[in-house]
């Protein structure tokens, strides 16, 4: 047999065996190519926002994609080499030199890699169109961005993946030259044998893992405030270290206890799940930690970005309760109203008499703020959902959550607010704060809602004081979305350039565009992450399945039925897949909770949707491995 024939044979066998590896390779190539295409498309990058560094986010995401692809490829290649080590050893045993074996592997890998690269880019061209369509849909943009094949993107992808392939070659060369024949032949027999854990040490380490994770959770639920970055890093470090200890020590320790309690009466399913997992825990701790952390990151990313997108509407409403407002400008308001009528747009008009004045809460100089006093009854008349406070009490509509406001601690209620630096003092009690605005946030002043009676008494008591201003606000609400968009056009023409007067429709569309883009990038990244983590788990399990084949033969000879063995395997796969997922989910739940302090809307529903979609796709990989195992068990006898 010539060397060429050997290579061709090796390839044929490998494609069949490592189908998923090549699939993942192709998939990540296409994803990267799509990314590179978007990155290099000037028309696309121009569709940016004034206040938003679009290209930098894209570049950062590109680097992340790259990192995960590198980690994944190196890991997958490592598993491959391990699985083929017998073959490598055999070549050497029959007299091939190191360099010949290395050349054999490299040629094979180069051919397959080049094929995968080409296919990947080809499908990337198709995929990029699909992705652009998705992006346009997410951003609510009508104008179609047409993408042309970008030579620059192709070159970029080629360079990146060529470098990657070279890295895998280095791995191969290292494997061929550095391992002894004995290592090569015994590689699949290696597996660590669970020893009785040293009680004290492992109990301490196991506990430390849990404590680290819990502390990380606790820190994350506190308001972030100062040293945000440092805190985030600490939390991240603690959680990752805790997760590693959890896999390396805690779970093994718990399993050991359970097993000891069984006193030898393990049962088939425990023999197949518990014992096997314990047997490989030491080797698998790294990969499981990696998978858990990646899953947690992905889940958090997807959940938060989907939540932002999902709640863009309610968030905008929280900022701008009214579609259009005119502040002290009845003339414009009237003409706006008549223009709306002319255009046949149905609208609800309301007018609000508000007060803007200086007020002080707490003691000292710090507490002086410009306050906007609004009357609850008037707001209610415009259809707003607002409670009327009792006499001399106010409710603050502060819009932002405390996590983002400059004050690090939420004010303690009830506190008194003291009006009138001029010497006339009126005091009202502030009893409650609400995480939204009662009036569009563009109107200056901290928004306090009081009852009509309270307002009356304030007006009577302090007719003149500096910084006391009576304001008339006209509000417009339009129910129909299309009519609102039309009105938005009229409104934009009317207001002066230097005035800051955002209307709901423009604001909402802008946030949809922004969050749509973020969701797109997050979805993109998570797809890459998911495919890689899923594949890593799949490879791990495939290798394990091959190593376990002998055991299945034994069990079947002893008279265990296929069904029973598969039952035990399913239990094992359930553990292997759900432990990282559950821990990853927990991590991300806390991360999302921490992040939800930053937004006005409730993130539970969108986060739950995003997480369940992720879990569903993730478990498809579990099903794949079970199918692989079933095939092995079937052919075991």
């Amino acid at each position: 047999m010539t060397q060429f024939e050997l290579i061709i044979r090796g390839m044929r066998r490998n494609i069949k065996h490592y189908f998923l590896y090549y699939f993942a390779f192709i998939f990540s190539t296409s994803l990267y190519f799509v990314f590179a295409t978007l990155q290099n498309d000037s028309s696309f990058m121009a569709a940016s926002f004034s206040n938003f560094k679009f290209s930098s986010i894209f570049n950062a995401a590109g680097i992340l994609v790259l990192v995960i692809v590198v980690v994944f490829m190196v890991y997958a290649n490592h598993i491959f080499l391990k699985r083929r080590s017998k073959e490598i050893g055999l070549y050497q045993l029959v007299g091939l030199t190191h360099s010949m074996v290395a050349r054999l592997l490299i040629t094979e890998n180069a051919l397959l890699g080049a094929g995968a690269l080409l296919i990947g880019m080809g499908s990337g061209v198709i995929m990029s169109r699909l992705f652009v369509l998705i992006l346009m849909k997410l951003m609510g943009s009508q104008s179609l961005i047409t993408l042309s094949f970008s030579g620059k993107a192709a070159l970029q992808t080629m360079i990146v993946f060529t470098v990657l392939i070279v890295v895998t070659w280095m791995q191969m060369v290292f494997k061929v030259y550095r391992s002894t024949l004995l290592d090569l032949f015994q590689s699949d027999r290696k597996g660590d044998h669970p020893k009785q854990p040293r009680n004290f040490l492992s109990a301490v380490m196991g506990l430390a893992g849990i404590i680290l994770i819990l502390t990380g959770y606790m820190l994350s639920s506190q308001a972030l405030g100062q040293h945000l970055f440092l805190k985030l890093l600490t939390i991240l470090g603690m959680t990752i270290l805790g997760t590693y200890l959890l896999f390396r020590v805690t779970i093994g320790w718990v399993f050991y206890r359970i097993r000891k309690g069984k006193n030898g009466h393990l049962g088939l399913s425990n023999s197949l799940s518990l014992a096997t997992i314990m047997h490989r825990m030491k080797n698998n701790a790294n990969s499981l930690t990696l998978i858990t952390v990646l899953s947690a990151m992905t889940l958090t990313m997807v959940a938060i970005s989907y939540s932002l997108y999902y709640s863009a509407g309610s968030e905008s409403r929280g900022m701008l309760p009214y579609d259009f407002i005119f502040e002290n400008n009845e003339q414009d308001s009237k003409s706006f109203g008549s223009q709306l009528e002319k255009a046949g747009i149905t609208f609800a008009h309301g007018s609000i008499e508000a007060l803007r004045l200086q007020g002080k809460n707490g003691s000292g100089k710090e507490g002086v703020h410009s306050l906007l006093l609004l009357t609850a009854e008037e707001l209610q008349a415009t259809g707003a959902d607002i409670r009327v406070p009792v006499q001399n009490e106010a409710i603050m509509y502060k819009g932002l959550k405390w996590a983002l406001s400059e004050e690090r601690t939420s004010p303690s209620f009830s506190q008194t607010i003291d009006f009138g630096p001029s010497g006339v003092h009126v005091q009202i009690t502030l009893n409650q704060a609400v995480d939204r605005y009662a009036m569009n946030y563009s109107v200056l002043g901290r928004q306090l809602v009081i009852s009509l009676a309270t307002m009356k008494s304030i007006r009577e008591n302090m007719p003149i004081s500096p910084g006391y201003e009576s304001i008339h606000i006209d509000t417009y609400l339009i129910a129909d979305q299309r009519e609102r968009a039309l009105a938005s056009g009229i409104y934009t023409k009317m207001i002066k350039k230097d005035e800051f007067n955002p209307d709901f429709d423009s604001y909402y569309k802008e946030s949809i565009r922004k969050f749509g883009l973020i969701l797109f990038i997050a979805g993109f990244l998570s797809l890459t992450f998911l495919v890689s983590t899923g594949s890593i788990l799949y490879f791990m399990q495939m290798t394990e399945a091959e190593q376990e084949r002998k055991n299945y033969t034994i069990l079947r000879q002893l008279g265990f039925e296929e069904r029973e063995i598969i039952g035990g395997i399913i239990q094992k796969q359930w553990f292997v897949f759900s432990i990282p997922l559950v821990i990853g989910l927990l991590h991300s739940i806390f991360a999302v909770k921490a992040a939800s302090a930053l937004t006005l809307s409730d993130l539970t529903i969108p986060a739950a949707i995003a997480m369940s979609v992720y879990a569903l796709i993730y478990f498809m990989f579990a099903v794949l491995t079970v199918i692989y195992y079933i095939r092995i068990v079937r052919t075991a006898l």
Binding site: N263, A275, Q557, F560, E561
Partner: protein, 256 residues
């Protein structure tokens, strides 16, 4: 009258496609009574392993009927066969076939885990067997930590824990040194005598066969002859076995 544990009639086995059929077994008739320790000998290629696999339901015969106690093996489905193996048969293999992820005790108790017997009874059985097989001390060790002889005795304990009707042993001493082999065989012989456990052992080693109560010689897929030990000493029986083997040819034994 002594009960018949295994009864094979006209068992044939052939491999290959039409036109190129190779007959491995050509009509084996064999009856094993309760409490017998039957050895099966024969040169390589005589079909002894095939016969054992078929009798042990791991392989299927092309023709013929096999009864174990009162069950007809040829009429069983695969699932019934598996169930039958687990409840009625015990196995000792040349390369031990222990699960390396399980401790000695866990390995031994594996076959009874789904059985009806409760844990306490299984535990008691285990204690007795472990004592008989001299593996009490190593119950919590893993297979890779113990010697070959200990592994094979573990395997024997696993074959006996569920009180099978018959134990099949396929070259059980093949991978053992002579001391470990004689310990194992001595124990098997003792168990066979004291508790009338029925054992069928395939071996090519006349020393191992000399522990049996009867030895069946196979040649070219047929039974060539049978020797009963009767009241003879093991040494005398061994000499007889050597003589038959010399006539049979094939495996040449020069050592005595």
């Amino acid at each position: 009258m002594v009960k018949t544990v295994l009864h094979a009639q006209e068992v044939r086995k052939s491999y290959g496609v039409r036109g190129n059929i190779q007959q491995v077994l050509r009509g084996i008739n064999l009856r094993v009574l309760e409490g017998e320790f039957v050895g099966i000998m024969g040169p390589s290629g005589s079909g002894k392993s095939t016969l054992l696999n078929i009798l042990a339901t791991i392989d299927k015969a092309t023709e013929g009927t096999i009864f174990v106690e009162d069950t007809d093996l040829s009429k069983m489905s695969n699932i019934e066969m598996a169930h039958f193996r687990r409840t009625k048969l015990g196995f000792i293999f040349q390369d031990y076939n222990l699960l390396d992820t399980l401790t000695v005790k866990e390995n031994i108790l594996l076959p009874v885990t789904l059985g009806k017997r409760n844990k306490a009874a299984a535990e008691a059985d285990y204690q007795v067997l472990a004592k008989d097989l001299l593996i009490e001390e190593i119950g919590h060790q893993y297979p890779h930590e113990i010697s070959g002889g200990q592994r094979q005795r573990t395997s024997a304990a696993r074959a006996l824990i569920h009180r099978p009707s018959i134990v099949f042993a396929d070259e059980p001493t093949g991978a053992l040194d002579s001391k470990a082999a004689s310990t194992l065989l001595g124990i098997l012989e003792g168990l066979n005598r004291e508790r009338s456990i029925t054992i069928m052992m395939v071996t090519h080693d006349p020393v191992a066969s000399s522990y049996c109560s009867r030895v069946v010689f196979l040649k070219d897929g047929m039974i060539y002859s049978e020797l009963y030990r009767g009241n003879k000493t093991r040494q005398a029986f061994f000499k007889e076995l050597i003589n038959v083997q010399a006539v049979l040819g094939g495996d040449h034994v020069d050592t005595v």
